[in-house]
């Protein structure tokens, strides 16, 4: 890391020549229906600076990024790039002024070569209208080399490790020589070992005088590359702190605010620990390289076990492996006393396990089919007369669940795709209730769901647990885990690094445990054998 320090000096020298800030917002306000997403935010940063942007989900980070990159206009206040105020000309105007944004989801064409991806949308054309392949490759290779990555420009992008794909994406963003580069969680999909590649590149880019906004949940890496961190909470920019001056606890406290623990204790009338009850599902040594590493835990009957962790920590993979969708490399399950070494999705469903996927639209619902058919999809045995399905029984079964879960639909035969996100989610949960599943794996069940539907889903989950259903509850929304869970395990980089029970389930405790410190010493490795 010696070279990194040298580059920081270059950065320091650059920033002293202070001219106009590369990015500046003055008292920007942005409202969405029912939400004040940004509340008079003043933000400023200079050339060559690496600024971390921190905050919980919904704190306003994404909105701020959208304003800086011109995708959205502020309702009040101004956004200026390099001293020029944006006039509402969209992302085009912002990019002309020198803003480049790399979003979490890569926008590469996996089958095309590195060089073609680098030039995507503007292939270099020579005489006769033919692509200048030689020059195209050389320039792509050179651009990546400048970032410290050596990649064969002929290789199809899809064949590269994710970190290098990320670098191709970043290199592409740098083509217009931006003044401000916004990186939205560039390392969230990377394994720990790959992160360095990205960090090195960020340092090089900053050394060249580009201002970088770096959004990440990994405090460890933020310390390595950012000098300062702007912390957002509830739409406000709370404070900008020096990363060397503030401890992780300070930063976590800033992100959560003082009110956090109060709300938690208020809500913490959560069910008595269910750990005395029989074990419904025991997971031992489950590994799905590279995302899940030797995960072991017990889920008790009637227990709601929360699984916390930042995006990319392996939560989804863990659930999919348990459900039989991802073949694990190692590990066993014991389900209601039956030990399993290999299991399939259909076998698990038969044994009473149901997964509601994170991606509701692509994995959960069949949008064109009615609410009733979506609900009975996993078990049609109870809605038949002889070999034929009975629409009447089907509607009846669906109606029962529609009213039990208060799914808002004009009629149970309405195509489920026409309903709101929250109601779609409830329909997917209803599918497993109809099936009589005893173990539910809920992957981000409240994602993209409005506040009221969220509250209903919490209530539903608690009620199911009271009825003896065992529930794994995965969530990125930290504040909801204390609300619903009687126990929480924290996944970090694919392994369980902490377990919280009873009064220890607080937003700040979960939050601190989910943020990787990079030092590897922070959180004790608990669990394994569960309480």
């Amino acid at each position: 890391m010696g070279s990194l320090n040298d580059q920081r000096k270059v950065w320091g020298a650059g920033s002293e020549h202070g001219s106009d800030p590369v990015a500046q917002t003055r008292a920007v306000v942005r409202r969405y229906p029912g939400v004040l997403a940004l509340d008079h935010v003043d933000f400023e940063m200079h050339a060559g600076e690496v600024r971390a942007l921190l905050g919980k989900n919904g704190a306003g980070k994404s909105t701020l990024i959208r304003l800086l990159s011109g995708v959205e206009k502020p309702d009040e206040g101004t956004v200026a790039i390099g001293g020029t105020v944006l006039t509402g000309g969209g992302s085009r105007e912002a990019s002309r002024l020198g803003v480049a944004t790399v979003y979490q989801e890569l926008s590469l064409v996996p089958q095309l070569s590195v060089a073609e991806n680098y030039h995507l949308g503007a292939l270099p054309v020579g005489r006769g209208g033919l692509v200048r392949t030689g020059w195209m490759k050389d320039s792509a290779e050179a651009a990546l080399a400048k970032l410290g990555v050596r990649v064969d420009p002929n290789a199809p992008v899809g064949a590269l490790p994710v970190a290098e794909q990320q670098m191709v994406e970043i290199a592409r963003a740098l083509q217009g020589s931006p003044k401000l580069l916004i990186l939205d969680e560039p390392t969230s999909s990377l394994a720990a070992a790959e992160v360095d590649v990205v960090l090195q590149a960020v340092n090089r880019i900053a050394a060249a005088g580009v201002g970088i906004i770096y959004v990440s949940h990994r405090l460890g890496e933020i310390r390595q590359i950012a000098h300062s961190a702007s912390v957002m909470r509830d739409g406000r920019l709370v404070e900008t702190v020096s990363t060397s001056g503030a401890s992780s606890d300070d930063i976590v406290a800033l992100m959560l605010g003082t009110a956090a623990d109060a709300t938690v204790s208020m809500s913490h009338q959560s069910p008595a620990p269910a750990t005395s009850r029989p074990v419904a599902l025991a997971v031992r040594g489950l590994s799905v390289p590279p995302k899940v590493r030797e995960v072991s835990f017990d889920l008790h009957e009637g227990e709601i076990l929360g699984i916390a962790g930042v995006r990319g920590a392996g939560r989804t993979e863990l659930l999919r492996a348990i459900a039989g969708l991802l073949p694990p490399a190692a590990g066993t399950l014991t389900l209601f006393g039956e030990q399993l070494r290999r299991w399939s999705i259909r076998g698990m469903i038969r044994r009473g396990v149901g997964l509601t996927p994170e991606e509701r639209k692509t994995d959960g619902i069949v949008p064109l089919l009615g609410v009733d058919e979506n609900i009975v999809l996993a078990d049609r045995s109870t809605v038949r007369r002889g070999p034929l399905l009975s629409s009447r029984l089907q509607r009846g079964a669906a109606r029962k669940l529609v009213s039990a879960l208060s799914i808002r639909t004009p009629d149970v035969t309405v195509p489920v795709g026409a309903l709101s996100g929250g109601n779609q989610q409830k329909a997917v949960i209803a599918r497993w209730l109809h099936r009589g599943s005893r173990v539910l794996l809920l992957d981000e069940p409240t994602r993209g769901v409005d506040v009221q539907a969220k509250a209903q889903i919490y209530e539903l989950v608690r009620k199911l647990a009271d009825d003896g259903v065992s529930i794994l509850f995965v969530s990125s929304e930290l504040e909801e885990l204390p609300l619903v869970c009687s126990r929480v395990v924290v996944l970090r980089e694919g392994a369980i690094t902490a377990e919280l029970t009873g009064d220890n389930i607080t937003e700040s405790a979960i939050f601190a445990a989910t943020l990787a410190d990079g030092t590897g010493s922070a959180a004790p490795s608990t669990t394994g054998e569960s309480v």
Partner: protein, 335 residues
């Protein structure tokens, strides 16, 4: 949909969207019905002999050739796949039954059974390639297309293989209560497939996996098995069509049923079944079958040059599908 639910009234935009979706679905079928009525009016006045009883029975007989395979094809397309091997599969079936009943000396019952079993197996093979190895259905059935046409010509030496005299084949070529036997088979199968598509767990699973295969898999639906079975059923239906065709012609013919897959797929798509999968209706396919058959019959009666007939059919079918796509674009869920 008279049934309503006792839950709180939902937002009106949901209701509007639902109404729009149902409306445009109905519009498609009504439009097709109107087109058929128009065809009857035009051909009834312009094409001599169109309205005669014998021509109408002939239309039914022709419709059976397309329709039987079209029922299975509808399910295949609802599942998001395609089967382009129908024509050669029918020709192969006709040669197979004739050869087995004569040269191979298996006797008529066994010959028919063997033909149906092999047709089913070949379909299942294509489905296996699709389901197990993700070979695109178009390619898997393109291979079957070429292989079966070649095999049919090879076995028959590219000559018609006469069927033996038999009351059974006479029955297949004849009529039941005045209706051509193939048409009766088609109508019976139509009823069977309507029930399958609308009323059986299997049929609804086909809609589910065509609409969202990942969700279907997560719900425990045996996606692979269903995919294989769909192609197997299509193979069976093509073999049945082949036996009926052989009975009608009195011989198995390796060069027969040229371009039949075109008519079958066109009938399904004109019926409004989306090639993207997830939606479609057997009843609408039936309208599509009538539409295609009427056009073919009318062009012959009006004495249009045989080659130009193909041109006209091609244009009409593309137009019909274009209208469908434009309607479908409006129909698509945006939420």
């Amino acid at each position: 949909m008279s049934s309503t639910v006792q839950t709180a009234p939902a937002p009106t935009e949901v209701q509007q969207q639902v109404r729009r979706m149902r409306l445009s679905r109905g519009v498609n079928e009504l439009g097709l019905l109107a087109a058929i009525v128009v065809l009857y009016l035009v051909l009834g006045t312009q094409a001599g002999g169109f309205l005669t009883g014998s021509n109408q029975l002939g239309i039914l007989r022709d419709a059976a050739q397309i329709g039987i395979a079209a029922w299975g094809m509808t399910l295949v397309i609802i599942a998001g796949d395609i089967d382009i091997s129908i024509g050669p599969a029918v020709a192969f079936g006709s040669v197979m039954v004739a050869k087995a009943a004569t040269d191979w000396g298996l006797g008529i019952p066994l010959a028919v059974v063997l033909t149906l079993v092999i047709g089913t197996a070949i379909g299942a093979f294509a489905g296996f390639l699709r389901a197990q190895y993700n070979v695109p259905a178009f390619i898997a059935t393109l291979g079957v297309y070429s292989a079966l046409r070649g095999l049919a010509q090879f076995i028959s030496n590219a000559l018609p293989v006469p069927l033996p005299e038999s009351r059974f084949f006479d029955f297949l070529a004849g009529e039941v209560a005045g209706v051509p036997t193939p048409a009766v088979v088609m109508i019976v199968l139509l009823a069977v497939f309507l029930v399958i598509a609308l009323k059986t767990p299997y049929g609804r699973a086909v809609y589910a996996l065509g609409g969202n295969a990942r969700a279907a898999e997560l719900a425990g639906i045996p996606v692979k098995r269903i995919r294989i079975s769909l192609f197997a059923v299509n193979g069976l239906l093509a073999a049945i069509t082949g036996v009926l065709l052989a009975a009608r012609l009195g011989s198995g013919n390796g060069g027969s049923a040229m371009g039949l897959e075109f008519d079958v797929i066109a009938a399904v798509v004109i019926g409004g079944t989306a090639l993207a999968g997830g939606s479609g209706s057997i009843l609408a396919t039936a309208l599509g079958v009538i539409f295609i058959t009427l056009i073919g019959n009318g062009l012959v009666l009006m004495g249009v040059n045989q080659f130009l007939q193909d041109v006209v059919r091609g244009v009409i079918i593309v137009l019909a599908v274009l209208i469908n796509v434009l309607l479908g674009r409006r129909r698509r869920l945006t939420s």
